[in-house]
Assembly symmetry: C2
Homo-oligomer: 398 residues x 2
């Protein structure tokens, strides 16, 4: 009587969500301050003050019918032009508002993009470890998700594995840099080599292959790490951007799809995106938040707090003997479990009230994800627990 597939999606909670619920239960039992919950990727620093100031200003100055009214489905053209111009100034590109389609966050940008491009028998490649919802979004579009594992040495792309995965059915490749869950930023060298392989494959198989760049963490990088701007390297790029993490607005659902003006047919791709947005029920992104965006381009919440958390945690974990994957961006640490089975390792961590997410759900075994978008106090208070966990393994307690 109902779609069994949808029931399954609604009932099977993600491991992340389960860990979070366990944390709430445990907090009720022993007090929130005694549970070290590192499960959720929910921004912990407030939106920059310009966001709320702009909302107030808009309410005071704009006509209500316009402020809260429909925009055209891809967004207000004036605002789309402002975003395009800002990108052009920042990245030396040549976009116009016609390349921008505002979305209800990055998840919508992804579901719309997949739906716009997917045809029968299509395969879409993702690099493990990957954001688990990719599987749901890709399969909903009718395409098949194909996993290529990153090389373990540095969690950059394993190019031999990628080449082996390419075939005529591959319609797109998704990257997510800075990466959830690894925190890794793909280097310029990686993006260049990836672009080269994709161009060769386009040539070989005789059709365009999209590079879909999922970029909610673009601005969340530390220590002057470069995040290469993908459309500069590869023409058939579609960027799925979100302001959720950069502006700490995840609940407001505002982002955009950027279709590179260098892609094989930007206006046709745009039409397909508009059609997919329509088919999925996205009438327009929030009119109010669209109007906030021009005032906040290039700004971020105070990410120094994330950097501070990362530095404290990285230094301590290394000292306790943990192996960390290069923690350059986003607000995640990807840490090698102290035994092969990450699920078992996470169960043992729970004994110290440490809530970590095993890496299996990200398509990669033997690691845990630690979300450090928490209070610095929690980080500091959790350190003895991490030390005790490492000591426990060293002493053969498990």
């Amino acid at each position: 009587m109902l779609s069994q597939e949808m029931i399954n999606l609604g009932q099977v909670r993600s491991v992340i969500r389960e860990m979070f619920e366990y944390g709430n239960k445990r907090a009720a039992e022993i007090g929130r301050e005694n549970v070290f919950d590192f499960s959720l990727g929910n921004p912990s620093v407030p939106a920059p003050s310009i966001v709320d100031e702009t909302i107030m200003k808009l309410i005071n100055e704009e006509d209500s019918v316009k402020l809260h009214g429909y925009t055209s489905a891809p967004g207000d053209m004036n605002i789309r032009n402002i975003v395009a111009n800002w990108l052009n100034d920042t990245y030396d590109t040549t976009f116009t508002g016609n390349n921008i389609y505002f979305t209800t966050g990055a998840a919508a940008a992804l579901t719309i993009t997949f739906k716009a491009i997917a045809e029968k028998n299509d395969e879409i490649i993702v690099f493990a470890p990957f954001f688990p919802e990719y599987k749901v979004f890709i399969e909903t579009s009718g395409a098949k998700m194909k996993i290529v594992k990153c090389r373990e040495s540095d969690f950059q792309i394993d190019f031999d594995a990628l080449k082996a995965a390419m075939n005529e059915n591959v319609k797109a490749v998704v990257i997510n840099s800075p990466c959830n869950p690894s925190g890794v930023v793909f280097s310029r060298e990686t993006i260049e080599k990836l672009s080269e392989i994709l161009r060769e494959s386009e040539e070989k198989f005789g059709h365009p292959i999209f590079l879909i760049s999922d970029e909610p963490y673009r601005e969340l990088v530390y220590d002057d790490i470069e995040v290469p701007f993908v459309p500069k390297f590869y023409d058939n790029t579609i960027v799925c951007y979100s302001f959720s993490k950069s502006l700490s607005l995840p609940g407001e659902r505002i982002g955009y799809i950027l279709i590179s003006d260098k892609s094989f047919n930007p206006s046709l791709i745009f039409d397909a995106v508009a059609g997919a947005g329509r088919a999925l029920g996205y009438v327009c992104a929030s009119s109010l938040f669209q109007r906030v965006i021009p005032h906040c381009l290039g700004m971020t919440a105070d990410i120094d707090i994330y950097k501070k958390n990362r530095d404290i945690l990285c230094d301590a974990l290394k000292e306790y003997g943990f192996d960390l994957v290069s923690p350059d961006g986003a607000f995640y640490l990807f840490v090698k479990a102290l035994e092969k089975d990450a699920n078992r390792f996470c169960e043992n961590a729970k004994k110290y009230e440490l809530l970590l997410v095993p890496s299996d759900s990200f398509g990669y075994e033997g690691y845990v994800r630690i979300s450090y978008c928490v209070s610095t106090e929690q980080i500091l208070n959790s350190l003895p627990a991490f030390k005790a966990l490492a000591d426990g393994y060293r002493n053969g307690e498990f």
Copy 2:
């Protein structure tokens, strides 16, 4: 290289949108005040002041991380409970927050609901005239849309036609009362009879049949017309509600799905809805606007303006000899064209700068939709044009 289906949806503009674009072009040529554009169903009165006041208050008083942060996917449980309690107080029902799933407007509520219930070979019945996007939303879910025409005498349901359309594959029936485009409110008698037929069909075919009630215009009724609350009449009801029109917030995309607590398995239906929301990329409805809702339940924008517009227009059109369908709700008049071909009639209306939408795109021939959510000034200024159009037909000019 792209989904042809999505390209088509993106490229083929709706007749409504085309008429609107024509209006903009014409306004540039002869001045906005000389074009009588009745094409769009876009609220023309501001949101009630409580909306913006509440936004300001929330910004001043709430923690930013919470205010703009993720809620759970179905919405904040506290707010869902408030909505359920308000419904219970208003309609004498027994809902809880577990029956409510907040959505990004009614379009999302519909796409999510269809996706949640649709299985292979399913048919979903709509009553013509109907909101044209139903076809897109239903077909995207994989189901087939089946049209049952309303009887022309009063645009209530033609029950013989409905009975003839029922078969074992019918999974759901969609109603939209007050109706876009007819403005008709289904009477209590209609809802009772519809419920009776659906219950008989459930019995006959041995499975539940959903009554999906699309209610963005619930509060937009005039002259003490009763809008029967559908879950009181039929157990397997799913209400798709939006605050877009009642609160004049169409650009902010906030609404909800209400799964009747009397339906055959509310929690399983809820799971399927949650799964469908996830699959389509809806992470949560705007956190800010969710929090606005408890302060505005039961309130509306100043709909006296719509009533005034309707009364002026109805009286005048009748005087000029037009046949009108009972104009009880929403902000649409459904008027019989003065010739059989509504498209040709609309072309002739354009000669008087009257932009009306032919009814064919709503699945019904020979009528036009007039959206009277415009300024009263436009209504008054347009009257001579309507008169001249009627005179033109009377004098055999076309």
